[in-house]
C-alpha cells in the first residue's frame, strides 16, 4: 500500500493506492501552524473509513509520497532563514540588478523588488575566474576568514555562495565551502556550482540563496514529519515530490530543499499523462487544474512533460527566479473564487482578486459580498445548492444572485442570468487564453491534444474550454479532484544533472564531449545506485542546450546517443536542432552551425508498474436520475438531466444537456457534447466542433 499526500493551501489530499491498483480518496483541512498534524488527520480519516486503527493502516504502507507548499509558503511569508550571500569581488549586486525587465510601464504602484538577500548580508570574495576557467585573481583567504567572523557576529543561519564561472572552474567555490565548513560547521551552506551548474550568474546565485534559506526549515520539517509518521506506525520509505515532476528521498530534499518549491502542482501533468494514454489513447495532453484562486495549465508533449528554466517565485520580474527547470505551469487568476467586477469605464473583469478560502464566494454564506465564478455557476444552475461537497455545505442561491445583480448586472445593464453567463464566458476565455499561450510557446496544437480537467471546479466549464480550443476530447479523471496527489503515485525517482560544455558543431571536440557525458552518466549512476536501488527500471536521458550563433536562448535537444563516435553523430545532432527550432519557432536556418552551451542528464528510476491505477469504478449504485434547469451561455435555459457519477457503469453514456455530480466534483455537459464512463472510472467527453461564437487566437493574457 502506498500513500500520497498533497498539502495544499486549503485541503490536505490523501490518495491510498492498494496493491491491486485500486485507490481511495480522502480530504481533510490543512493545518498551517503544524502541517504534519493535518497529514496525520487525513490518515486518521482514512483509517476510520476503513474501520482500523491508524497504526494498523500505516503499518501496511510501503511508501509515503508527499507534496507540500511549505517551502514556497515560507518564502512568501518571509519565514526563511537569515541568509547571507557570498559573491565575486566587484559584483555584489547580482541579486539587486537581476536581469531587468518589468511589466505595465505606467504602473508606479509596484515598487522595485527587494533582493532575496539584503545588501547588508552580501559579502564580496576577493577572487576571479575567467570565462575559460582561468584564474584571473587567486582566492585570498584572509579576507574570507574576516567575512566568516562577521557572519558569526551577525548570527547568520544559512549561506549561499555564487562565484562567477564556478561552473567552469569550481576551485574557489569549493575552497570557500571548506572554510565555511571548518569555521561555521553548524550553518548550512549551498554552493552554486554544486546545486545548479548553469550559465547566468543571477539565476545560479538566486538558486543558491533560495536553497540555503530553506535548509534549516525544511530539514526540521522533514525530519519531524518522518519521525511522527514512524512514531505513528509507518515503516516504509518517505519520498518528496519535486518541482520537476519526479520524486526524491526526503533526506535528499532536506539537503537541496529548493527542489520542493513547486512540489504541489508539478504532479498534475504526471497524472494527466497517464489518463491521456489510458482513456484518450493520446501522448499529447493539456492538463488544466482548477483551484480556488488559480487555474494551472501544464502540458504533455509527445509523452514528455515540458519544463522551463524560468521559474518565478511570485510574478515575473517582481518575484525571484529559482534558476531551476520546473514543470512548465502557467497560472492565471481565474479559479472558482475569482471575483467578478466592473471598472469605471464599464468593462467587466474576472480576477485576479479572489475571495480565497475566507470569506469565500457569496454563496458559501460566510460573509463574502463580491460575486465570484462559483456564484455565477450557482445562478446558472451548474451547481446544486443542496449537493455541494456531497451535501456537506448548503449554498445560498439568493445571496449569489443579489451580489451579481448589484455588482455586475446593474452597472452593465444586463439581466442577472446574462450577467452570470458573462462572468463564466470571461473566466472561460481567460482559461482558454492561458492554455493558448503555453501551447503555442511549446509548439503544441490544441486541436490535436486531449484536455484533462483536474480540480474540484474543473467540470463547470471544461466542456466550454475544450470547445473553444477545438480539443475533440475532454477527460475528467475520477481522481481529478486530487490530481496532484494521484500524480505523485505515478511518478519516478528523478534527478537532473548538468554540466557546462561550450562547443560548436563546426568544431566539436568529440573526446571532450564524451568526457562530459561520461561524467554525467557517472553522477546519474551514483544516484541510481543509492536512491534507486529498488527501482523496477532505470533510464538516463541526455540532452545538449544549444542555439544558433548569436542567439542567447537555448533549446534543450535530446541526444540520440551518449557518445559522439564520428562526424555523422555531430551532423545528426545538428539536424535534430534544426528540426526542433522549426517545431517551436516555425523557422530554422539549415545552413547555420549550432552552438552548444551545456549538457544535461536526467536519471529516472521507475518505482511501480505503469499500468496500475486502472481498476477503479466503484460498485455502481442505482441512484435515481433527476432533472434541473441549467443556463448555457449559447443556448439559454434548458432542462438538463442530472446523473450521479456512481450510477454510471463502465461504458455508460450521457448526452448533453446534462450535469454529472459526485461528492468531489460537478461536470456540466453542454448541449451537443456527450460523456462516457471509461473503464478507468474517468469521464470521457466528446466535444462538438466550434460551440463558441468566439474563436481561439494564438496566445493570451488575462483581461485587464
Amino acid at each position: 500500500m502506498r500513500f500520497a499526500v498533497d498539502t495544499g493551501g486549503t485541503f490536505t489530499d490523501l490518495v491510498i493506492e492498494h496493491a491491486d491498483g485500486a485507490f481511495e480518496l480522502h480530504k481533510s483541512p490543512t493545518t498551517p501552524d503544524d502541517p504534519a498534524r493535518g497529514i496525520l488527520d487525513v490518515l486518521a480519516v482514512a483509517a476510520a473509513a476503513r474501520g482500523v486503527e491508524l497504526d494498523a493502516l500505516l503499518a501496511e504502507g510501503e511508501m509515503f509520497l508527499h507534496g507540500t507548499t511549505r517551502a514556497v509558503n515560507a518564502i512568501i511569508t518571509g519565514n526563511t532563514a537569515r541568509t547571507a550571500f557570498l559573491t565575486t569581488a566587484g559584483h555584489p549586486d547580482v541579486l539587486v540588478f537581476r536581469e531587468g525587465g518589468r511589466t505595465d510601464p505606467f504602473d508606479y504602484t509596484r515598487p522595485y523588488p527587494e533582493p532575496y538577500v539584503p545588501r547588508a548580508l552580501t559579502f564580496e570574495v576577493p577572487e576571479r575566474i575567467g570565462a575559460q576557467g582561468e584564474v584571473v585573481r587567486g582566492l585570498e583567504e584572509a579576507p574570507v576568514l574576516e567575512t566568516i567572523a562577521r557572519l558569526r557576529e551577525l548570527e547568520v543561519e544559512a549561506i549561499g555562495v555564487c562565484l562567477l564561472w564556478a561552473t567552469v572552474n569550481p576551485a574557489h567555490e569549493l575552497r570557500v565551502g571548506e572554510l565555511l565548513a571548518e569555521h561555521l560547521p553548524d550553518v548550512p551552506v549551498t554552493l552554486s556550482h554544486k546545486l545548479n551548474p548553469t550559465l547566468r550568474e543571477y539565476r545560479r546565485a538566486s538558486s543558491a540563496v533560495i536553497d540555503a534559506s530553506l535548509k534549516p526549515l525544511m530539514t526540521d520539517y522533514l525530519h519531524g514529519l518522518e519521525q511522527r509518521l514512524r512514531d505513528a506506525g509507518f515503516g516504509g520509505r518517505m519520498v518528496m515530490v519535486t518541482s520537476n515532476a519526479g520524486v526524491l528521498d526526503a533526506a535528499h530534499v532536506a539537503d537541496e530543499p529548493i527542489h520542493s518549491i513547486n512540489s504541489g502542482p508539478a504532479m498534475a501533468p504526471v497524472a494527466g499523462r497517464h489518463f491521456a494514454r489510458v482513456d484518450g489513447a493520446s501522448d499529447t495532453a493539456i492538463i488544466a487544474d482548477t483551484g480556488g484562486t488559480t487555474y494551472d495549465v501544464s502540458l504533455v508533449r509527445r509523452g514528455r512533460i515540458p519544463t522551463t528554466r524560468e521559474t518565478w517565485l511570485g510574478a515575473p520580474y517582481f518575484g525571484h527566479m529559482t534558476g531551476f527547470p520546473s514543470v512548465d505551469i502557467k497560472s492565471v487568476g481565474a479559479g472558482g473564487g475569482s471575483i467578478a467586477w466592473v471598472d469605471d469605464g464599464n468593462l467587466l473583469h474576472v480576477g485576479p482578486r479572489s475571495a480565497s478560502a475566507v470569506p469565500g464566494p457569496v454563496a458559501y454564506g460566510r460573509g463574502g459580498t463580491e460575486p465570484t465564478v462559483t456564484d455565477a455557476s450557482l445562478v446558472l444552475g451548474f451547481l446544486d445548492p443542496q449537493y455541494f461537497l456531497g451535501g456537506k455545505m448548503k449554498l445560498d442561491v439568493e445571496g449569489a444572485r443579489a451580489a451579481i445583480e448589484r455588482q455586475v448586472a446593474q452597472p452593465l445593464g444586463l439581466e442577472v442570468d446574462d450577467a452570470a453567463a458573462a462572468i463564466l464566458t470571461l473566466a472561460t476565455d481567460q482559461m482558454v487564453m492561458a492554455i493558448k499561450e503555453i501551447t503555442i510557446n511549446q509548439g503544441v496544437d490544441p486541436t490535436g491534444a486531449v484536455l484533462i480537467g483536474g480540480g474540484g471546479a474543473a467540470g463547470l466549464n471544461s466542456v466550454a474550454v475544450a470547445a473553444q480550443l477545438g480539443c475533440p476530447q475532454l477527460i475528467i479523471p475520477q481522481v481529478g479532484a486530487v490530481l496532484s496527489a494521484a500524480g505523485a503515485l505515478m511518478s519516478d525517482l528523478m534527478a537532473d544533472h548538468a554540466a557546462t560544455f561550450v562547443a560548436s558543431t563546426a568544431s566539436l571536440d568529440r573526446e571532450q564531449a564524451n568526457v562530459v557525458l561520461a561524467d554525467l552518466r557517472a553522477r546519474c549512476e551514483r544516484f541510481a545506485a543509492a536512491a534507486g536501488a529498488s527501482a523496477a527500471e532505470t533510464t538516463i536521458e541526455f540532452a545538449f542546450e544549444a542555439r544558433y550563433p548569436h542567439q542567447v536562448w537555448e533549446l534543450e535537444v535530446p541526444l540520440r546517443r551518449e557518445r559522439f563516435e564520428g562526424a555523422e553523430d555531430v551532423a545528426r545532432f545538428r539536424e535534430d536542432f534544426h528540426a526542433l527550432h522549426q517545431d517551436i519557432f516555425a523557422v530554422h536556418q539549415p545552413e547555420a552551425e549550432v552552438e552548444i552551451l551545456g549538457a544535461r542528464a536526467r536519471v529516472s528510476c521507475r518505482l511501480r508498474d505503469p499500468d496500475l491505477m486502472q481498476v477503479a469504478v466503484a460498485a455502481a449504485e442505482d441512484l435515481p436520475a433527476d432533472e434541473r434547469r441549467v443556463y448555457f451561455p449559447d443556448h439559454g435555459w434548458a432542462d438538463a438531466q442530472v446523473v450521479h457519477l456512481d450510477a454510471m457503469r463502465s461504458d455508460a453514456s450521457v448526452a448533453g444537456p446534462a450535469v454529472i455530480e459526485s461528492p468531489f466534483t460537478t461536470v456540466v455537459v453542454d448541449p451537443g457534447a456527450s460523456a462516457r464512463r471509461a473503464e478507468s472510472g474517468s469521464l470521457v467527453l466528446t466535444i462538438p466542433a466550434a460551440a463558441g461564437d468566439l474563436p481561439a487566437a494564438t496566445t493570451a493574457g488575462a483581461a485587464s
Binding site: G90, H91, P92, D93, F97, R98, G100, G101, R102, T103, P105, F106, D107, Y108, T109, Y112, P118, R119, A120, G130, A131, L164, L199, R200, Y202, V342, D344, G345, L347, L348, H349, L412, L414, T425, L426, Q430, M433, K436, I440, Y548, P549, H550, Q551, V552, W553, H581, V587, A592, L597, P633, D634, D693, L694, P695, A697, T698, T699, A700, G701, A703
Partner: protein
C-alpha cells in the same frame, strides 16, 4: 455564428474584454518570436524592440510588452506613410522602414511592416515590429552616432518603406544591399528573419480572427475599445488639477553650433481637467543641430506622451483612443520636434526625448502635490557601448554588439522610490545582460558591476543610484563607442527633490592612471586597459527632509546612502548601532528646513 439569445447592449463589455485579450495575445506572440530567435544581444537580451497592431485608420491598437519610446507614436505615422507610398497594398507584402523623416525613431531601429489584407484584397490592419539593430550600416561601427553632422555622415542605409516581400517571397535585390552594407551580415540576417517571423505570425492570427468574427465586428470593436479607452483617460485627467506650467531642462553640451552650452529643452503643459484634455507644447525649443541628437517626430511626440502617462496611472489603456485626449504641439526644423532632411537623428530615442519627458514631468509636478515626477538619469553610459573587434577565440572573427549593461536612472515619483533599472524611455521594460553571457559572447571581462552609494537624487522618494561598470578586453583590442548624456547636466529632482549624480566615464591604463572621457566618445582598449562607466542617477521627488527616517535608516544599512549623507542631506542622524537618534534628527531636520525655506525665496524657477 453569434448566439443571438438576448438583446445585446450597444457595447458588449464581455466581447470588448475578450477581443482585447485576443489582440494583446497576438502582440505577445510577435514579441516572443522576436525575443527568442533574434541574434543581436540588444534584441534577444536587451529586449530593445516593440511589436504592435495599428488600425486601418492608422491608430495604435495594441502594443503589449513594448518599449514605450518605440511605440506610443511612430507606428501610426509609419502605417500612414506606407499607405501613401504603396496605395495598392496586397497580401504577402512586407516593407522595411527606418526613415527618421517618415515616422520612424532612429535609423538603427528597423521596422518590418505588413498590411493585413483579406481574401477580397481589403486592408484591415497593419502589423509592425521594430527592433534596434546592433549595426545599421553607419560610417562607424555604432548604431548611434552622436557626432554625426548629418544623415550622410551618419551613413545608415535609409529605407523609406521599401518592399522586402511580395507574395510572401523575399525581394532579394534589397536584401543583398543590406548584406553588403551591414556589419556582421549573418547576424543581421538572423535578426531580419526573426522580425519577419513576428509580423507573419501576427498577420496569420489577425486573418484568422477576421474570418471567424467578421471584419465589420473587428472594426466595430476597435471603435468601442477606443471609446472605452478615451473614457478611462478622461476620468484620469479629471483627477488632476487644471493649470499651465512650463519647465525647462537641458541636454549636455555638444561641440556644434547652437549646442556649445547645452541644448535647453522646454515643455509647456496645460491640464484642462474640466474638458479632460492635456496639451504639451514643445515649439519653444531650438532649431535642429548638426549632430545626431535631433528627435524625430515620433520620438518627440512619444517622449511628451510618456511624461504625461507617467502621471496618469496604469488603468488608462495606452492606444489611439486614450491619445485623443492628449495633444502634442511640434515645430518643423526643431531639435525637439520634426526634423528636416538631412539633419541626423541617430540618437533620437535617448538624450533629447529623455529631457522632453523630464521637462513634462517637472512641469506637471508644479501643478500640485503627488503629480509629475523627477527627471530620469541620462541613458547610454559608456557601459552601453557598441563594442566591436575581432574575437581571438573564434579565429579573429569580427563581431559587433550593443552591450545592455549598467543603466539605472529611475526617477523618484509620488508613489515611491525609483525603479532601479529604468533606462529612460524604456521605463524599465528593457532587460540587462548577464555578466557570464556577455563574457561568453565577447572577448572582454566585466571587472565590476555595482551600485555606487550616495549617487541617488535625494528626496521624499529617492531616485535610482548610479551603476559602476568596468570592462577590459581579453586577448583582443576592442573599439567601444558610446552616446551618453547626463555627464554635465544631472537629472533634476521635483518638488524639492535633489538631482541625481552626474554620469562619468574614464579610461584606466595598466598603471592605474585614469583619464576622464566625454559622455559621447569612442575609445580603443588593449588588454590591460579598462573602461570605467558610471550611469547617471535619477532625480528625487519631494524634499529629502520629508523622507521617512526608517527608509533612510534602511538605505544606510543597505549601503545605498552613507551615514554622513543621511545626516547632511536627509537630516537623519543614526547612533553607533545604526538606530535613529530622534532628538538629533529633529534638530537637524529643522535646520535643513530653515535653509531650504531661505533658498526657496530666490530660487523661483526650475531652469538649470
Amino acid at each position: 455564428m453569434t448566439a443571438g439569445s438576448v438583446a445585446v447592449p450597444a457595447v458588449d463589455p464581455v466581447r470588448l474584454a475578450v477581443i482585447t485579450n485576443r489582440m494583446e495575445s497576438i502582440v505577445r506572440a510577435m514579441s516572443n518570436t522576436l525575443f527568442r530567435t533574434a541574434r543581436s544581444g540588444v534584441i534577444n537580451t536587451g529586449r530593445d524592440f516593440s511589436a504592435c497592431i495599428v488600425t486601418r485608420e492608422d491608430e495604435l491598437l495594441a502594443a503589449a510588452e513594448s518599449l514605450p519610446i518605440h511605440v506610443l507614436s511612430g507606428p501610426d505615422l509609419v502605417a500612414r506613410y506606407m499607405k501613401r507610398v504603396h496605395p495598392d497594398l496586397r497580401a504577402g507584402d512586407a516593407f522595411l522602414h527606418n526613415s527618421p523623416y517618415e515616422g520612424n525613431s532612429h535609423a538603427a531601429d528597423h521596422c518590418l511592416v505588413a498590411p493585413v489584407v483579406d481574401a477580397e484584397g481589403e486592408h484591415h490592419f497593419t502589423v509592425l515590429v521594430k527592433a534596434h539593430l546592433a549595426d545599421a550600416g553607419n560610417s562607424r561601427p555604432t548604431s548611434m552616432m552622436m557626432r554625426a553632422r548629418d544623415v550622410y555622415q551618419e551613413g545608415a542605409l535609409i529605407f523609406p518603406c521599401v518592399k522586402v516581400q511580395e507574395d510572401y517571397e523575399h525581394v532579394e535585390d534589397v536584401l543583398r544591399m543590406c548584406r553588403a552594407r551591414i556589419r556582421v551580415p549573418e547576424m543581421w540576417w538572423g535578426d531580419y528573419l526573426a522580425m519577419l517571423g513576428a509580423v507573419r505570425v501576427a498577420e496569420r492570427e489577425l486573418l484568422a480572427l477576421g474570418d471567424e468574427l467578421g471584419w465589420d465586428a473587428l472594426h466595430r470593436y476597435t471603435r468601442d475599445w477606443f471609446d472605452y479607452s478615451e473614457r478611462r483617460m478622461e476620468s484620469a485627467i479629471r483627477r488632476l488639477p487644471s493649470g499651465t506650467r512650463t519647465a525647462c531642462t537641458a541636454h549636455d553640451p555638444m561641440p556644434v553650433a547652437g549646442a556649445e552650452h547645452g541644448v535647453p529643452i522646454a515643455a509647456t503643459v496645460t491640464v484642462d481637467a474640466e474638458a479632460a484634455r492635456i496639451e504639451v507644447d514643445l515649439r519653444d525649443n531650438g532649431d535642429c543641430v548638426a549632430a545626431g541628437i535631433n528627435t524625430t517626430e515620433a520620438t518627440a511626440r512619444t517622449a511628451a506622451m510618456i511624461g504625461v502617462l507617467n502621471s496618469l496611472g496604469s488603468e488608462v489603456p495606452v492606444n489611439g483612443g486614450s491619445f485623443r485626449r492628449l495633444q502634442v504641439d511640434l515645430r518643423v526644423n526643431c531639435v525637439a520636434g520634426i526634423p528636416l532632411h538631412p539633419f541626423s537623428c541617430s540618437v533620437a530615442t535617448t538624450g533629447i526625448p529623455e529631457r522632453i519627458a523630464g521637462a513634462v514631468q517637472l512641469a506637471l509636478s508644479q501643478l500640485g502635490p503627488d503629480i509629475g515626477m523627477a527627471e530620469a538619469g541620462g541613458m547610454l553610459p559608456a557601459s552601453t557601448s557598441v563594442v566591436s573587434g575581432g574575437d581571438p577565440r573564434r579565429g579573429g572573427a569580427p563581431f559587433i554588439d550593443f552591450l545592455c549593461f549598467g543603466i539605472t536612472g529611475g526617477p523618484g515619483h509620488p508613489r515611491g522610490d525609483a525603479w532601479l533599472n529604468f533606462a529612460g524611455g524604456c521605463l524599465g521594460m528593457n532587460a540587462r545582460d548577464s555578466v557570464e553571457v556577455a563574457e561568453l559572447l565577447h572577448p572582454l571581462r566585466i571587472e565590476c558591476n555595482r551600485i555606487v552609494p550616495d549617487t541617488e537624487g535625494a528626496g521624499r522618494h529617492r531616485g535610482a543610484p548610479s551603476n559602476q561598470v568596468e570592462y577590459t578586453p581579453v586577448g583582443a583590442t576592442l573599439e567601444f563607442i558610446w552616446s551618453g548624456e547626463g555627464t554635465t547636466n544631472p537629472a533634476a529632482g521635483a518638488r524639492g527633490g535633489g538631482a541625481g549624480a552626474r554620469g562619468a566615464q574614464r579610461k584606466r591604463g595598466p598603471d592605474g592612471a585614469e583619464v576622464e572621457l566625454d559622455a559621447f566618445e569612442s575609445t580603443t582598449l588593449a588588454p590591460g586597459e579598462t573602461l570605467v562607466s558610471f550611469s547617471a542617477g535619477g532625480g528625487g521627488y519631494g524634499r529629502s527632509t520629508e523622507r521617512d527616517p526608517e527608509a533612510v535608516r534602511k538605505d544606510v544599512r543597505e549601503g545605498y546612502v552613507s551615514r554622513a549623507r543621511a545626516a547632511e542631506v536627509y537630516g537623519v542622524v543614526l547612533d553607533a548601532a545604526g538606530a535613529i537618534d530622534p532628538a538629533a534628527t529633529a534638530s537637524r531636520r529643522a535646520d535643513l528646513l530653515q535653509a531650504a525655506a531661505a533658498a526657496d525665496g530666490f530660487a523661483g524657477s526650475p531652469v538649470r
